[in-house]
Symmetry: C2
Subunit: 441 residues, 2 copies
C-alpha cells in the first residue's frame, strides 16, 4: 500500500485541511515526484463564500461542497484520509490522527479558521456560528423553525423574539447574510406564512466599528449600508454584543433586543492543531510564519491561509483572511517544496490583491478593484460571474446557475427544508412560559 513507508521512493507531503489553501497545494503537486496525503475531517471541500446562501436556502449544501476523492480522481500521487488530527509531532516528523499516525517529509498546515467569540462563553453557547456546511444547515433549519413557532403564537408580543433576527459582524459574511434574510422577508415571508405580516419580522446587523465592510472602500461601505437600508435591515454601528442568554441580546449601548436567533459572524480565529510551539501563536490564534510561509524554526512545516499570520512591515496585522491569500500561499508552498527538492531557492511570497466584493440581495452588490468601484446591477452580475467560475466542479456550476436564474426570475425560489432539526442548548429560565403561550386551535 502506498502509505507504507518502506515501499515509497518519493518524499511525502502531508497537507492538513482541504480548504482553498490545502486543495491548491495538492493540485499544484500533480504529476510531481512527491506523494501527497491530504487529511481533513470532512470528505469534501467547501466553497465558503457561498455558505450564506446555504444558510438562507438559495443553494443546497451539495452545490458548495465537492467530494475530495472525486476532485483528485485523476491525480495518481494523491491520497486522502478522513480523520481528525490529534497532534503534530515535529520531533518525529509525524502527524498523529484519529485513524493512525503518518510520517511526513514536508507538512502543510492549512486548517483554516473557526468562530471567535472572544471568550464570551454565554454568547458562544447560544449564538449560531457559520463556519461549516453543517452550521449553515443548522441556521437554515433554525430560521424556519422559528417562523413555525411564531405562527403558533396569537399575541404579537409572544411572536417578537421568534421574528427578530440578529446578525453580528459587518464583514462580507454578516452583510450578505443579513441581506439574504431581509430579502426572504420582503419577497417570500407573506406567501409562506399568511398568518404573519412582513413588518413583524426584523433583521438587525450589529457591527463593532463605525462602518460595515471595513476592508472595502469608503464608497462601497456606504453603498452597502444604503442597500441594507433599502431591504429594511437595521444596521447598528459602533456597538458590540455584550451578552446573549438565548432570549435577549444585550448590546454595549445598553439596548436589548428580544430574539431567539443571533448569528455570529463577528470574528474568526485559527484552528490550531496540537503540537505547535506556543511562542509562535499570534493574535487571533494564528501561527507566525516566515515570508516563505514556513513555521518559524521548522523549515519542513508550512502554514498557510487563515491559520497563519505573515507579519511584515507592510502588513503588521498579517494578510486578510480571504480565499485568494490561502490559494496564492498554497500555490507558493507547492513551488517552494519543489524548489527545495531541486536545491533551488525561492523568492519571498507576495500577495496579489485582485479586489473585494460583496452582494446584498437581488441586483445589489459592491465591487472594489484597486481604486475602481462598481455597484448595482453590473456589480451584482460581476459578483455572480466571479463566484460561478470559482466554484469547483462543472455540476456545481450548472446547478448553482440554475438556482440563481430561477430565483431571479421568480423572486420566490428556495430550499426551505428542515431536514435535520436544530436544537439549541436549553436556555435556563422562561421555557415554561413560552410553552404555555403557544395556543392555537
Amino acid at each position: 500500500m502506498l502509505l507504507n513507508r518502506s515501499e515509497r521512493n518519493f518524499p511525502r507531503v502531508i497537507i492538513i485541511g482541504a480548504g482553498f489553501g490545502g486543495v491548491e497545494v495538492a493540485r499544484q503537486l500533480k504529476n510531481k515526484e512527491v506523494e501527497v496525503l491530504l487529511i481533513d475531517r470532512n470528505n469534501y471541500h467547501t466553497f465558503q463564500p457561498l455558505m450564506y446562501q446555504v444558510a438562507t436556502g438559495t443553494l443546497a449544501s451539495d452545490s458548495i461542497s465537492f467530494p475530495l476523492r472525486k476532485m483528485f480522481k485523476n491525480q495518481n500521487n494523491f491520497r486522502f484520509r478522513l480523520a481528525e488530527v490529534l497532534k503534530i509531532d515535529s520531533e518525529n516528523r509525524m502527524v498523529r490522527t484519529s485513524v493512525g499516525d503518518y510520517d511526513y517529509d514536508y507538512l502543510v498546515i492549512a486548517t483554516g479558521a473557526t468562530s471567535n467569540f472572544f471568550g464570551n462563553k454565554q454568547v458562544e453557547r447560544h449564538a449560531l456560528p457559520m463556519k461549516s456546511v453543517v452550521e449553515a444547515l443548522n441556521i437554515r433549519s433554525y430560521l424556519l423553525q422559528n417562523l413555525e413557532e411564531a405562527v403558533l403564537r396569537k399575541n404579537a408580543s409572544d411572536r417578537e423574539s421568534y421574528l427578530n433576527f440578529v446578525v453580528v459582524g459587518g464583514g462580507p459574511t454578516g452583510v450578505e447574510l443579513s441581506g439574504a434574510i431581509a430579502e426572504y422577508q420582503q419577497h417570500m415571508l407573506k406567501k409562506d406564512y399568511p398568518e404573519l405580516s412582513t413588518y413583524e419580522m426584523k433583521v438587525f446587523l450589529v457591527e463593532g466599528t463605525d462602518k460595515i465592510l471595513g476592508a472595502l472602500s469608503e464608497k462601497s461601505s456606504r453603498d452597502a449600508e444604503n442597500y441594507l437600508k433599502e431591504l429594511g435591515v437595521k444596521t447598528i454601528l459602533g456597538t458590540v454584543v455584550t451578552d446573549y442568554d438565548g432570549n435577549t441580546v444585550t448590546l454595549s449601548s445598553g439596548e436589548k433586543i428580544a430574539t431567539k436567533t443571533v448569528i455570529w459572524g463577528a470574528g474568526v480565529m485559527g484552528q490550531m492543531p496540537e503540537g505547535i510551539n506556543p511562542e509562535l501563536i499570534q493574535r487571533g490564534n494564528r501561527i507566525k510564519i516566515t515570508p516563505q510561509c514556513q513555521v518559524e524554526g521548522e523549515e519542513n512545516i508550512y502554514a498557510i491561509g487563515d491559520v497563519s499570520a505573515m507579519i511584515t512591515e507592510e502588513n503588521p496585522r498579517g494578510l486578510p483572511g480571504v480565499a485568494p491569500v490561502a490559494q496564492q500561499q498554497g500555490s507558493y508552498v507547492a513551488k517552494h517544496i519543489l524548489n527545495r527538492m531541486n536545491n533551488s531557492s525561492s523568492e519571498d511570497f507576495k500577495y496579489f490583491d485582485k479586489g473585494s466584493m460583496a452582494t446584498i440581495g437581488r441586483s445589489r452588490a459592491v465591487v472594489d478593484i484597486g481604486n475602481f468601484h462598481m455597484k448595482g446591477f453590473l456589480a451584482w452580475t460581476t459578483w455572480m460571474f466571479v463566484h460561478l467560475v470559482s466554484i469547483f466542479g462543472f455540476r456545481n456550476r450548472v446547478v448553482t446557475f440554475v438556482n440563481w436564474s430561477i430565483k431571479f426570475l421568480t423572486k420566490n425560489s428556495g430550499i426551505r427544508l428542515i431536514i435535520h432539526r436544530y436544537e439549541r442548548p436549553a436556555s435556563e429560565p422562561s421555557t415554561a412560559d413560552e410553552q404555555s403561550s403557544a395556543q392555537d386551535n
Copy 2:
C-alpha cells in the same frame, strides 16, 4: 387567526401526512369552500421514488424534497402545521398534536408507511431503513464511511465486511438501490479509492420469494435479474434474513455474509396514529377502509395510501402500496367531501393502474403497461421522463435533469458527501479487534 374556530365559516378538513395522498387531497380542495389544515412532522413533501438516488449520491436531498408552504403558497384556504400527531380523538372530532389540538369536520389520515422488520429487534437495531430523506442521507454517509474504513485496513480479510453491501428485499426499492450501488462500484470505486479493487466490493440482493419485482410481469422480473447480474449484483432468491448483529448477516439458508451494511427494503407497515379502533387494523398495520375510503364506522374520517387497506373481492390483500394509489385516493376523497357538502353521493373508488417500472442503472430498465413490456434504453428513457414530470417543482425538475445528464455523460458524477456522519448503534462484541486492525502508515 384562521384557525380560531369561532371566526371561520367553512368546514375544516384536516389532512395528516404530506405524502402523495395527503398533498393531492389539499390540492384538489383549492378554491373550494373548506379550510384545509395539513399536518406533517416535516415541512416538505418527499418524492419517494427517487429516494434511492439520494442514498447513492446521484441526487441531493433538496431535489426530491419540496417545501410544503411554498407548494401551497397560492392556495388561500391552506394552512400548515409542523407537528407530530399524538392522538386522533374522534369522539371530540379533535386531532391532538405536539403543538396543540385542532378540531376537524373531516379528517384524512395519510400517514404512509414505515419499515417493517417483522418483529426482528436485532435486525431492526442494526439494519438501515430507507423511508425518509434523513434515512437516505444516513445511507449515503454510511456507505462512504465504510469505504473510508476499508482503506485503512491492510488485510483483505479485515476489509471484507466493510466492502460487502447487502440489500434486503427484491421490490423496486431493493432492485434500484442494489443496481445503483453496483454502478458506483463499476464506474467510480477505483477512481475514488485507488487503494481498493473493484472486485473486492460485493453487492448482494436478498429476496424472500423466488423472483425479484414480484409485482411486475414474469418477463420484467427476468430482465431485471439479468441486468443486476450484468452489474455484478449477487441475487439470492427464496431466502430471508434471520439475524444480523451489525457484523454478520445470517440467511435462512444458513449462509453467513460478513457485512457492516444491511439496507432494509423488505417490508413496510402503516404508520398508525393513536386513537384508531384496534379492530380495524389489518395485516401490515393498515386501517380497513370502505370502498369510499372511509374508516369503517367513522364517516368523517378517511384513510388513504399506504396506511389504508381497501379489501375487496378483486383485491383480497388490498391495493398495492404505490404512489398512484395514494394520489388517486387523495383526489377521490377531496371530491367525496365536496359531494357530501352538496348532499350528493359518490361512486365507489376505482384504481386505474397505469403500469409499473423499475430502473437498474444506466440504460437498463423495465416497464410494464398492461400486457405491454419494454426494456433497455427505451425503457430507461421512459422511466426518466415519467419521473422527471412527476417531481414537484420546476427547479427540482431542472436540477434533477442536469444531474442525470452529467451522470450519463461522465459516468462519474455524484454527491458523495458525508455531511452528517452516521453512527450505528454499537454492536456488542468485537469492536476492539476491529480497531486494532486499522493500521496504516
